[in-house]
């Protein structure tokens, strides 16, 4: 038989351009194939440090995101009521003129009346600087409802963090524990690594109430009860400390374990480090039996003990206090097991496996290095136990202390930035905590004046808070107030509620970018819609003006007054900067760019260029020249190349200097973007071997990092197992010092600002009756969908176009629920109806669903009857953004009391088989009108 001719060498593209993916936060390198200017195929860039050629289900569907019919096509001005969808298309000049007028009025009157919050953008280096130049402290990105518990816990403990800011030493680790990690940031690197770990025979343990995705292929799945990870980890610590199987050398040299703490109950210095006249913390030297400065190279510090200083003060080593806490019988596995749903023998076995791997499988790399005290080490000693944690830890009201507990376990085993352990990615490590303080204190916000510093930073003591003399919050989201003192990422989830309640004050303009705050990014969607449409007695809106920029017709677009349509990710310049959240590898710093691979076919502009344009029209100092002309007339690419944050340091670290060969520090290079494009749109600087580990105390690395501008001085980053800043807040709560919390806040501060990690029950579970709401309800991020962005993607919605409520078979049986039955889910705040699916791999006291699949009918240019809106649903409707009233009528936000992180995963519910088995989810909101601007 003759076979038909098959052309096996078709050339279906005429051009290939590299750029950076934006289908999630992973930021892989991609190659975009084009034919006649149209995108035909996207694959992974093999030369890219992040993904090394692979691509994920989202990334390969980017083509449908780019050509989505939900794309906005022209600036819009609201002409009907908010939510009506009645807009008029306007020209850019009118849009920019309006925005400038609204913003200049605010800036001239009171810059605080602008709340500028951005969602999932990757340009916080620019947006934060813009807010500073504008002069408003009311700026943050979305970290307050995402990751701040992890960022703060890590940065205050070891100057690094989970999320994408560090990673396990994939090459050497032998035992890998994932806590609450679903598909997310670092998605392809983790997937690549899991494949490699399995090939090498390393053990993977997943601690997660739900066993899908990464958990499904783990060697061991621990289906923990949500919010109890801190108990489980504390029990592991109890086991290893009881058996003295901890890394004493690491603790003595690189942590504050031997530092002396004053014991003076009731005194104003109780719990602070004993310091000498020069301010150095002290240790007890075993040779001389006397105190010595903590970083004395010749001292022999005592790890444990209580001592009396020559001046009479009583002191104890930090480690003694830590040991005393975790040796308590309350942390014994048998006393923890029932509460976290993990058998005591499992906890004991895992502790033994961790210890065996860490100490009996010790790694010794033949790489000499010198530490911060000038001590020469022949080898780099490693302990091949690594951990990674994400939202399953962070989205609880006990997430900060739980994350600190995980870091304590890592450090007791000596596994931070050692071979086989958890590694920093430059620019980390930073000082613990970093030195930058938030600006916005009373008197620092002035009309037509920039802030004296950035709006976000790290408070180290009550004096750093943004509160007035009466202790009242200065920011609209109450960040850095007594409500949330360490709110390093702000509290975006509270902005709309607080603005509508005028608590602490009302605002004039709400300006947001890429954040679906009227839908899946809001806790308590129904009331949030109410706040956005709430009116004053005179008929004006309580939040008078809302400017919103997005590329797509998301639910939020309908509630804004002025829409600035953004481009897709394939139509823009971007920089993934070391000043923001870079793509660095553990082996060295890296950054990257996006280049426009195709021109917009609509009247849209990239948001960052628009922001610089508005900045110039407002005359913001950094964005205008002395003659008033724009400083960056070429828009965002002009800024990327020419902006300098410090002399020689700009958004991109590669290809700097006149000849384009300087790295890290160098004069702006006009050809920098072309150099990036020639290099595949990324830059990566691999560190020499002697700078790849122990970087918190690695002399050569610290010197190099100082040159690169990552740190101000080459000081070691001593791990702060005992977190003194927390104790300063506790002392203030006891009435010490000049800045003390108002009486109503004191107990909460005293209870939660423990300088040693501990566990407390998540707030919602404590505030509602367990018998009424016996179950936990959480979401998971699906592998093939990133937030709501995936919804309008024709391919991805075929894979996951609706969601179900998943539950354990025995739980369903108790309630007479069968597969595909419709059920009601009730919380203290609300009720939804959803369709049930039964499974084995879920904690028996937990129900769950996929995140952000449910859509509002009519949004995203989907047909009004689309499955996402008719069968899909959100858990958000069940979650209150405020905790119930306490004495005095005050309502705290539903957040971690230390950082303000939104506590989405604290949700408690009950389920019943629905009386109405009609196949439709509830609640159903009125269908949104399809936007005229959507193409």
């Amino acid at each position: 038989m003759t076979e038909p001719f098959v052309n096996t060498s078709p050339r279906t593209w005429d051009e290939v351009k590299t750029t950076t993916c934006y289908m999630c936060a992973c930021r892989c390198g991609i190659r975009v194939h084009l034919k006649d200017g149209r995108v035909t195929y996207i694959d992974g860039n093999p030369a890219h440090p992040v993904n090394k050629g692979v691509i994920c289900g989202k990334g390969a569907a980017g083509i449908m995101q780019h050509y989505s019919p939900a794309r906005l096509s022209k600036p819009l001005l609201r002409v009907g009521e908010r939510g009506s969808g009645d807009f008029r298309e306007i020209e850019w000049e009118e849009a920019l003129g309006l925005a400038t007028q609204w913003l200049s009025e605010v800036r001239a009157k009171d810059p605080r009346k602008l709340a500028f919050f951005t969602g999932r953008d990757q340009s916080q280096g620019l947006t934060g600087w813009w807010a500073t130049q504008f002069g408003t402290p009311n700026y943050a990105a979305h970290g307050g409802f995402c990751s701040v518990n992890m960022a703060a816990a890590g940065l205050y403990t070891f100057g690094g963090s989970f999320w994408e800011f560090g990673e396990p030493d994939w090459k050497h680790t032998r035992y890998f524990m994932l806590f609450g990690v679903a598909e997310d940031h670092a998605s392809n690197p983790i997937k690549k690594a899991l494949g490699q770990l399995k090939e090498r025979g390393a053990k993977i343990v997943s601690i997660n109430p739900i066993r899908t995705g990464y958990s499904a292929i783990a060697d061991e799945w621990i289906g923990i009860r949500p919010g109890t990870d801190g108990l489980f980890v504390g029990a592991l610590i109890h086991e290893i400390v009881s058996a003295q199987r901890i890394d004493g050398d690491y603790l003595l040299r690189y942590t504050n374990s031997p530092w002396l703490i004053i014991e003076n109950p009731g005194g104003e210095d109780d719990g602070l480090f004993a310091r000498n006249a020069q301010g150095s913390a002290l240790i007890w030297d075993g040779h001389s039996s006397s105190p010595m400065p903590a970083l004395s190279p010749d001292a022999a510090p005592k790890l444990m003990g209580r001592y009396k200083l020559p001046d009479g003060r009583r002191v104890v080593t930090a480690f003694t206090l830590i040991a005393e806490r975790f040796l308590e019988p309350e942390w014994a596995p048998e006393n923890i097991a029932a509460r976290c749903g993990v058998p005591a023998e499992t906890i004991r076995r895992i502790a033994a496996e961790l210890v065996r791997t860490a100490f009996e499988e010790e790694i010794a790399l033949d790489v000499p290095w010198t530490d911060h005290l000038g001590r020469y080490h022949e080898k780099m000693i490693g302990r091949p136990v690594s951990m990674h944690a994400m939202r399953g830890i962070s989205a609880h009201s006990n997430g900060f202390q739980t994350c600190r507990t995980i870091h304590l376990l890592q450090i007791l085993l000596g596994t931070i930035d050692v071979p086989g352990g958890f590694r920093y990615k430059p620019p980390f490590p930073k000082p613990a905590p970093p030195g930058v303080k938030p600006a916005g204190k009373p008197g620092q916000v002035k009309p037509n004046t920039p802030l004296p510093g950035p709006p976000l930073g790290f408070v180290a003591a009550p004096a750093d808070l943004l509160v007035d003399a009466e202790g009242r919050p200065q920011r609209i989201d109450k960040a850095y107030s007594w409500d949330a003192p360490l709110a390093a990422h702000g509290l975006m989830h509270m902005v709309i509620t607080n603005a509508a309640k005028k608590d602490p004050y009302g605002i004039d303009v709400l300006f947001m970018y890429m954040a679906n705050m009227s839908w899946n990014s809001a806790m308590n969607v129904p009331d949030t819609i109410g706040y956005l449409t709430q009116k004053e007695p005179d008929g004006s809106y309580t939040i008078p003006k809302i400017i919103y920029s997005d590329a797509y017709a998301s639910e939020m677009v309908h509630y804004a007054d002025l829409i600035l349509p953004d481009t897709t990710y394939l139509e823009r310049w971007d920089c993934v900067s070391l000043l923001d959240r870079p793509i660095s590898e553990a082996d060295g710093p890296a950054d990257s760019i996006r280049q426009p691979v195709t021109e917009p076919d609509r009247d849209v502009r990239p948001f960052q260029t628009v922001l610089l344009d508005i900045g110039a029209r407002l005359g913001l100092p950094g964005m205008t020249r002395n003659d008033g002309s724009p400083r960056y007339p070429g828009g965002y690419p002009d800024y990327i190349v020419n902006h300098e944050r410090a002399p020689g340091i700009g958004p991109l670290a590669g290809f700097r200097g006149a000849n384009g060969r300087a790295q890290g520090r160098g004069a702006p290079n006009p050809d920098q973007l072309q150099a990036y494009i020639a290099n595949g749109c990324h830059w990566f600087h691999e560190l020499p071997d002697h700078m790849k580990y122990y970087r918190h105390v690695n002399w050569a690395y610290l010197d190099w990092a100082t040159f690169f501008g990552f740190i101000a001085r080459p000081d070691p980053v001593i791990h702060q197992l005992y977190c003194e800043p927390l104790q300063k807040f506790r002392l203030a709560a006891r009435g010490h010092g000049s800045i003390v919390p108002p009486a109503g806040h004191r107990q909460r501060i005293a209870d939660h600002f423990d300088p040693i990690p501990f566990w407390y029950a998540p707030f919602e579970g404590e505030l509602v009756a367990a018998e009424q709401y016996p179950l936990h309800a959480v979401t998971q991020r699906p592998m093939a969908m990133y937030h709501s962005w995936g919804s309008q993607n024709a391919w991805l919605r075929q894979i996951l176009g609706r969601n179900w409520l998943y539950m354990a078979r025995e739980l369903a049986a108790r309630h007479g629920i069968a597969d595909d039955d419709w059920v009601t889910v009730t919380s203290h705040h609300g009720r939804i109806k959803a369709q049930a699916r039964l499974m084995d791999g879920v904690n028996p006291e937990t129900v769950w669903t996929w995140n952000a699949i449910g859509k509002r009918s009519g949004a995203w240019n989907l047909a009004p009857g689309a499955d996402e809106s008719k069968q899909g649903f959100l858990l958000n409707h069940l979650i209150s953004e405020l905790l119930p009233e306490r004495e005095g009528g005050y309502r705290y936000s539903n957040s971690d009391p230390v950082t303000g992180q939104a506590a989405w995963y604290d949700l408690r519910v009950r389920i019943e088989k629905a009386g109405d088995q009609q196949p439709a989810s509830e609640p159903q909101f009125a269908a949104l009108k399809t936007l005229a601007g959507a193409s």
Partner: protein, 265 residues
Amino acid sequence: MTSLPSPSAKKLGLVIDLDTCVGCQACATSCKEWNTQGYSAPLNDVNAYGSNPSGTWLNRIHGYEVEEAGQAQRRIVNFPRSCLHCEEPACVTVCPTGASYKRAEDGIVLVNPETCIGCKLCSWACPYGAREYDQNDGVMKKCTLCVDRIYNDNLEPDDRLPACVKACPTGARHFGDLGDPDSAVSQLVAERGGYDLLPEMGYKPVNKYLPPRPRRDGATSRPEALPKPDGSAFDRLFAWADRLLSTGKTPARAADIDNSGKLEG
């Protein structure tokens, strides 16, 4: 009826590792985006932005909870499904027009869209559900093993792989000649106990699946715990900490370096 060529020595196919597949759909969307502009173009979608959207896919991933020996709980296995390029494919022999055929050169099973009449006999004959009828085009479509990539002179040699294999982030998909016992894929199958789907049907699939590796958890690991002698754990820890100091092996100090001054305070 369509006849099969003499068995080829070269048997190109996929080896799919069920131990490392996390179900991320990278292979599915990468397949769709290549093939909607490749040999099978276009892979049409129906109701793409409405209710119950559907479309033509040459590779789909299913998740199953399966029983596992010695384990109380079933485990989720992610199972990618596409044409297995059988050595004796019934989908070819039932084809009334000769549109379905198995290539003599490398064993790839293809459909010639010019002669396919869309009668769907082949999809009834395939027990693996690997063929999809494209409603818009009225023809049957299926995995081509990216025949227009693996021999494509316009691609860099490293890129001459099926789109799904190149995409897979966990490295769960492997491509090669399963007719050559020395090939990397054949070695992998031998090493890991790769198996045929539904071997009893007798179609001799070329593609192989690697079974999940045994788990190492409470059911399969030996119980162990750290020692816990009687007496005060605190006292023992204190004694241990004391010994730590007395036997402390402080590393040698580089003679010519004194960095202590600038690090204080």
